[in-house]
Symmetry: C2
Subunit: 201 residues, 2 copies
Amino acid sequence: MQTIGAVIFEGFEMLDYFGPLEMFAMHREHFKIVAVGETGHAVASSGGPAVVPDARFDEGDTYDVLLVPGGKGTREEVENAAMLDWLQQASAKAEVVTSVCTGSALLARAGLLEGRAATTNKLAFDWVREISRTDTVDWKPKARWVKDGKFYTSSGVSAGTDMSLQVIADLLGEAAAEKAAFWAEYEANRDADNDPFAVEE
Amino acid sequence: MQTIGAVIFEGFEMLDYFGPLEMFAMHREHFKIVAVGETGHAVASSGGPAVVPDARFDEGDTYDVLLVPGGKGTREEVENAAMLDWLQQASAKAEVVTSVCTGSALLARAGLLEGRAATTNKLAFDWVREISRTDTVDWKPKARWVKDGKFYTSSGVSAGTDMSLQVIADLLGEAAAEKAAFWAEYEANRDADNDPFAVEE
């Protein structure tokens, strides 16, 4: 059994979060999903319903896989020391760290992407690069997702679902990734280099 | 402005719900999302985090578009009179009624699909047909989604996202559907007849 520590914050993007979680949930005999929030209070998603955290930052639990969604709330969270501290501590203990969309800006601001290749939402590409306040991240303008060491960063929103299948393939094997997509009737993009939404540099 | 009344119940499937809601949220100047539950209590999704209802069945509000997800919880909900009553009353007032995956079993048991064509999850196809307790639904074994009058029923999990783009196209025009998919970096299947997960009859 591996635990997925899936962080929520005010204004997180719904599909960034629930697309990957759905794929992990297809193998619920192997993955346990835990919604982690700064406090125990329910957190409103961007444009949608509120989600209840199962655990708090200050509990300091260890998670095998981290999921960091994007959304308009990242514009506040890049300045939130409690978030950046938790990301640093939880990442140090995790086997795999993933982000979707502008969630990579949080990883970058926490200093976790120094010297690494990464990607992000193609419509917020320049914002992420600037707000990250580092020149050492190699931001990829054309990538459905990027894997560098234990860090998987994905492109915008729906790309997170494809990235999560790569994580499943790496942890449980390609057949497990194919099964997750099949059971969810998901027409997956299994090629990290196939990015229909790439931006021109 | 149109309201989306998106029903939740214990054991609803995450992506059935949040895939379509993400697409509607891409046009948040036009759609307001309301999570509707039988009570005001948070409801655990299938394998994932709990969601807080914004409104209750007994408030009797009118919604322009209904979204009914599937998930293992439908096996309880097909026997839940409060759910079936609410579906009947809310559907009568709605302009569009949608279901994802086994959510169509709830519409069928509420008597809303009599004489209509519909589809559902391909892995639960026979279960849905039996539990519906009606011979008058024309269940389609090969369809990403089916539109019959104001009722849109989709195939399993991820198919709901494609169906929601058809609803957006019908309500706001094809360009709006294309924009929603583009902004969410979603590689959409815009062809209702293109069903890679079709079952043999």
